[in-house]
């Protein structure tokens, strides 16, 4: 087995637990995995690192109206290594790179106990889908081994990653509904930065009658 990030051979370490217990097959080498940072302790709502209670941004979201999002769960911090990883996966289009995080992503998903909820990918605009060749949220759902439920359509084409927080929060809702849903929903995306994209989608889902909206992202 080779590491999906650096292509080096993965040398399995032998300990009593690896010897006695059935093994999870990791597709990332120890050196690459170590460069991702876990999020502890985190804001209980959005998963922001270095925050013991509810973080400042989440308080702000809840100030004016009721926050549409129940909880966000993220796998790793969005550090420099993660930025390179995302650039290669999403912008260069290295689809199989996601397999390097598959094992970790599955165990995170199991912990959340959201497996009975509908998994909704954040849609891409048509032009961007042709450019990239795949939808990154659907790719994440697929690597979880679940079925994705397409409920949203994107009408705007602006990229969030080129904007500052104020411009992001003030931007208009780029999504519209295809079908309404009346059961809890998990929105899936790659990065949670300010939470604007997720909350745009969540508020739309709530308006059409969805009781609870959670979200799952790779990085926070």
């Amino acid at each position: 087995m080779r590491c999906y990030v650096c292509f080096e051979e993965i040398l399995p370490e032998v300990t009593w637990s690896t010897f006695l217990l059935p093994q999870k097959v990791k597709k990332i080498c120890y050196g690459c995995e170590r460069q991702f940072e876990h999020i502890v302790p985190a804001c209980p709502k959005c998963g922001r690192p270095d925050s013991t209670g509810l973080c400042f941004d989440c308080e702000r979201w809840g100030m004016e109206q009721e926050d549409p999002l129940e909880q966000n769960v993220a796998l790793y911090q969005y550090n420099d290594f993660a930025k390179d990883w995302v650039a290669r996966w999403k912008y260069r289009g290295d689809y199989e790179l996601l397999q390097s995080l598959e094992c970790q992503l599955r165990s995170l998903f199991q912990k959340t106990e959201w497996d009975t909820y509908a998994l909704v990918p954040v849609p891409l605009s048509g032009g961007r889908l042709v450019e990239r060749g795949f939808n990154q949220s659907e790719a994440i759902i697929q690597s979880l081994g679940q079925k994705s439920t397409n409920l949203l359509r994107r009408t705007g084409t602006e990229k969030q990653s080129k904007k500052q927080r104020r411009a992001r929060v003030a931007s208009s809702n780029p999504f519209s509904m295809i079908d309404p849903i009346y059961t809890p929903v998990v929105l899936v995306d790659d990065i949670y930065t300010t939470g604007t994209t997720i909350r745009h989608a969540a508020s739309l889902l709530k308006q059409s009658g969805c009781p609870q909206v959670f979200s799952l992202t790779l990085f926070r």
Binding site: R88, Y95, E96, F134
Partner: protein
């Protein structure tokens, strides 16, 4: 002039009109071989370098190359487009405006290069010691090729070398359009008849050049990266002249020379005629003990302090970036100020120029400065020379940094080690052998 001549494009890099135009030929992007596949841009055949993805444009599960994805994704369902290279290149007249004089040894090399270029399809290895003046040796050959309307590429594995060569070549060939291409180079045009590029840039060319010169062919990453060798081969036209320049050929080339498969011109003498400084191997059995504790043995520190009393500057080569940091701290405690450079250093170019202008007297470096840089008067120390990054070629090149100027043709080269390695012995022997051969000529 055709801007697409000899260039290789991906599907999405061209407009629909251009894709159907007759200047482009379609090449299958990922080819099925009898066993496995090959990416026709980077030449990779290893199975683990390929990935599959559900491609939303064509609706199928498509294969793509994960190796060269940094330069855009090569998909199996989309062909590569190769621009026609049948273009008339300008025939310059009286192109060489260089008023220097070649030495007898350099003239021999220059004549061999011109001879190879007149023959058309030919290979030539120019095996010249560090500081023999390889760039100057190329001038008559380059002038001949540009005057006869050939397209020339001078490729090298290192961006630093491109940065250093382009201004020198622009002075020597003032009328010629010369484009220097590397990772984020300011030159965006890629259609000149004389291109100086890093070997990575050659992945974007196919049958483009009549003359392909590869400088420092044994340097990292060219010598162990098959895809770059594949790209260098494909970027040259089928009947092209290929010239390789190096001071330290690898086993493969030496072997081909021995079998008489590769013509060679051998220049064992520096341009100023003085012999190469022979490295001294200094045994220091406590070196690993001290290094583990982030200290240096007193003998090495004393040697550095003593060296700093002399007029020469000092280059200290260290095996890793972390080591440059703590060695700088150790020397600071002996009140010696040391500049440090490594590959990821954003100020590396400024630091090297300030060292060349003698603003600093002590520079700690990793192997990035092992080749392609000239300082007039330096001594060279290698600490922990037994480390695996210092192979024979690296050590010969490092020793070749000393005594490059005719005003100060000598220099002290010391390898501090805790036990001789084959690389050290081979490097020492090959320098001694070169000096012996150079004496006779």
């Amino acid at each position: 002039m055709n801007p697409h001549a000899g260039k290789l494009y991906l599907h999405h890099e061209l407009s629909p009109d251009e894709r159907t135009s007759p200047t482009f030929t379609k090449i299958p992007s990922i080819e099925k071989l009898r066993f496995g596949y090959r990416c026709n841009r980077c030449g990779k055949q290893k199975t683990y370098r390929f990935g599959n993805m559900p491609h939303s444009t064509c609706g199928q599960n498509c294969r793509y190359c994960r190796h060269c994805i940094q330069m855009g994704r090569v998909m199996e369902c989309e062909p590569l487009y190769s621009g026609s290279s049948y273009v008339e290149w300008p025939r310059y007249e009286d192109v060489l405006q260089w008023d220097g004089q070649l030495t007898v040894a350099q003239q021999r090399g220059a004549d061999a290069i011109v001879h190879a270029m007149t023959k058309g399809e030919a290979e030539l290895l120019v095996w010249a010691v560090c500081g023999a003046g390889k760039t100057e040796m190329l001038f008559p050959g380059l002038a001949f090729s540009l005057e006869s309307g050939k397209r020339v590429c001078l490729a090298t594995p290192r961006a630093d070398v491109v940065r250093e060569l382009v201004p020198r070549l622009r002075v020597a060939f003032p009328d010629v359009v010369i484009q220097g291409l590397y990772g984020d180079s300011p030159d965006k045009g890629t259609d000149a008849s004389f291109i100086v590029a890093t070997t990575h840039q050659l992945l974007r060319y196919a049958s483009a050049f009549d003359v392909m010169i590869i400088d420092e062919m044994d340097a990292f990453p060219f010598h162990h990266e098959e895809s770059l060798q594949f790209a260098a081969k494909r970027a040259a036209k089928p009947g092209a002249t290929r010239i390789y320049l190096t001071a330290t050929p690898r086993k493969k080339e030496k072997w081909r020379v021995r079998l008489k498969k590769l013509p060679v011109i051998f220049i064992p003498k520096r341009f100023h005629g003085h012999p190469l400084p022979v490295p001294k191997l200094q045994l220091n059995p406590t070196l690993p003990y001290h290094m583990k504790r982030k200290q240096l043995p007193a003998s090495i520190v004393n040697a550095i302090v003593e060296q700093q009393q002399t007029a020469r500057q000092l280059l200290v080569f260290l095996p890793s970036v972390q080591m440059t940091e703590w060695v700088a701290e150790v020397l600071e405690s002996h009140s010696l100020h040391a500049e440090q450079v490594h590959a990821g250093d954003p100020e590396r170019i400024e630091k090297v120029t300030s060292f060349r202008e003698k603003k600093a007297s002590l520079l700690l470096t990793t192997t990035i400065l092992e080749r392609g840089v000239t300082f007039p008067s330096v001594d060279v120390f290698v600490i922990d020379a037994g480390h695996q990054v210092f192979d024979e070629a690296a050590l010969v090149q490092i020793a070749g940094r000393a005594g490059r100027s005719p005003d100060d043709p000598d220099g002290d080269v010391s390898f501090y080690h805790a036990g001789k390695t084959n690389a050290m012995l081979d490097a020492h022997d090959s320098i001694v052998k070169m000096n012996k051969l150079g004496k006779g000529r």
